[in-house]
Amino acid sequence: MSKNNTIFIGENKSFRERNRRSGGYLLKRRAGQVTISIVRALLMFGLCFMIIQPLVTRFSVSLMAAEDLYDSTIRLLPRNVTLDNYRIVAELTSMPASMINTAWISLVMSLCQVVSTTLVAYGFARYEFPLKRFWFACVVLLIIIPPQTIQTALFMSFTHFDIFGIIKATTGSDINLRSSLIPYTLMCLTCMGLKDGLYIYMLRQYFRSVPVSLEEAAYVDGCGTIHTFVKIMLPDAVPTIASCFLFSFVWQWTDLFYTRNFISGYKIYSRELSNITSIMSKYFARNATENITVPLGRQMQLIGIGVFVCCVPLIILYAFTQKTFVQSLTMTGSKE
């Protein structure tokens, strides 16, 4: 059974012969391996199928004409293929505008988040300063506190925005910032955006893994703090930062919470999607006073299309960048 023995028996001997010599061990082992791999393949296939299946169903249902929905002989393949549903959903969610808004707002916000979190993470990873543990506990709190706890307060303070009463004193009334992008941009720039605590954690973990001697060498050669950070640390950190950027972009894209509370002035796809049911009944009504209920199947179909349309850009993005997504986590995932 040892390695030497196997070589002695030789590769050219038949499996049966080798099995006989090993006293039945070889067959047992082989049977075990095959069973395990079959079970594993089944399990993996089942779970993968479960993840993919809703997308496939949504896609095929999205192509069905209204009469196909209620035809019980049709399950997956539409009989009357139509793209009309997409047109309807696009109108329901004020499509081109909302999609473009979502894209550029997500981009700007995640850039802001990445810049601020990178700086903070670097500060935490490399410098000793008083109250460091306290501030880091705050980062952990950021991860733990549900933003819903403070949503009412933020909502109020942005609706009636004022800096120590100065604005009210000069112009006579406070300003409503809630419809503009300013509050959320400020929040992202100060690490209070969506899941920023997590990004700080990930980036800090990465920066800690870089040897200090790199920076020391730079200091000896006369680099300043910022120069060292930009020239020495940043280039190596690009993959991790990129993955943080991707995460924040994707989560921003689908986010409803911050969008609903702080960016109410813009048409954002996720918010339009969450309102789709109520818009639908207005859309299908012939006039303003009529109140109709859209048939259930039809409703589900249109919502499904909405979700599908929301997913597609993200899946395409993921397909191209999945290495960055997973790799960075493998590098930084080993949390204490």
Binding site: S37, A41, L47, C48, M50, I51, I52, V120, G123, F124, Y127, E128, F129, P130, L131, K132, C138, V139, L141, L142, I144, P146, Q148, T149, I150, Q151, T152, A153, L154, F155, M156, M187, T190, M192, E216, T225, V250, W253, T254, D255, L256, F257, S270, L273, S274, I276, T277, Q299, M300, I303, V307, Y318, Q322, F325, V326, L329, T330, G333, K335, E336
Partner: protein, 336 residues
């Protein structure tokens, strides 16, 4: 570069900070103080953000939860309620909390059911993601593909997407109809098995919990993208020589799994557990969250009650994080 000093009193950090940030003493001019100032500059965004967008709103929202809020004018008046505490009648500003627990017809019911769901889902997610990570760590064909698929839920179940279909009241109706159809036609294997096992009378409650998990398997897989990656990272960081040594000593695969793999990965159990709980509490399809949003933006526009309810919710979340941390640290320590 790093010199950690043990502090005798908690306030020494603050005195140190004062010395380091304010010129005019000897500490100010040391290299440590200089580096501390640079480090503080790096994390300045976080400090500002935390104070302005976290501490202040937290205080306001706590205040709000104890008062009646007028959204239009942005004013608050204390919402007092007289309560019997230990036989003495006291007037306390807990009107909204009283409302949440006593008057709100849905809140407590939803909270309890959501906690139960969370406990089951957390355990199931941890087990599931660990099993999947172990499988994905093995060498088989299509491993990369499976990894890509299993990470997809991170994108597909974020933000607005998971809740959107179940939020639709009709959807629930439809699923209940389809359940009924399945039940009557007897095709539903899980249901049949469940009935069989319930009839046989073996630990009925246990089976109920297990079947609840099985029914929720889609949700569980969709919620375990990050956890799988974290476990996978832990598994990959185990040095293969450990397994080799165990193999030489005559360990079976089963033994080396429990003696090597599990103890090495168990510290990540805590991280994943906390992540799962937080994720669950902040999910968009969470019924308590929906209810709070309903109270906040619905016909009531009752910001006071909404913030009281979100504080209760946060308290519960913290409690559960605390309990699980306690249990897991105990359990993990016993392995060391």
């Amino acid at each position: 570069m790093k010199n950690k000093t043990r502090r005798n009193h908690w306030y020494e950090g603050i005195t140190e900070a004062v010395k380091m940030y304010i010129p005019g003493n000897n500490t100010y001019r040391t290299i440590q103080a200089r580096r501390a100032r640079i480090g503080t500059r790096f994390i300045l965004p976080l400090i500002i953000g935390f104070l302005v967008f976290m501490v202040r709103p937290l205080i306001i929202s706590l205040q709000m939860s104890m008062s009646q809020v007028n959204v239009g004018q942005g004013t608050m008046t204390p919402f007092n309620v007289s309560l019997d505490i230990l036989g003495t009648r006291m007037v306390l500003p807990f009107g909204n909390y009283n409302y949440a627990f006593v008057s709100d017809p849905d809140f407590t019911k939803l909270l309890v059911s959501e906690i139960g769901r969370m406990a089951i889902n957390t355990i199931a997610t941890l087990v599931m993601s660990f099993v999947i990570a172990v499988i994905l760590n093995q060498d088989f064909k299509g491993r990369t593909f499976c990894r890509v698929i299993f990470f997809l839920p991170v994108i597909l179940s974020s933000g607005v997407l998971p809740g959107i279909e179940s939020q639709n009241a009709y959807f629930n109706l439809m699923t209940s109809i389809s359940d009924a159809v399945n039940e009557s036609s007897g095709v539903n294997l899980s249901q049949a098995l469940q009935n069989l096992l319930s009839v046989s009378g073996v630990a009925r409650d246990v089976f109920d919990v297990i079947f609840q998990m099985i029914d929720a398997i889609y949700d569980i897989v969709m919620a375990s993208g990050i956890q799988i990656i974290v476990f996978l990272t832990g598994l990959q960081s185990i040095s293969p020589s450990l397994y080799e040594a165990a193999d030489v000593e005559g360990c079976s695969a089963w033994e080396s799994f429990w003696k090597i793999t599990f103890p090495m990965v168990s510290p990540l159990l805590l991280v994943n557990c906390i992540y799962t709980i937080i994720d669950f509490f902040m999910k968009n399809d969470n019924t308590v969250m929906e209810h709070i949003n309903q109270v906040m933006y619905g016909t009531q526009m009752d910001f006071g009650a909404a913030s009281a309810e979100s504080w209760i919710y946060f308290g519960v979340a913290l409690l559960f994080i605390g309990i699980s941390t306690f249990i897991i640290t105990r359990a993990v320590k016993s392995y060391e």
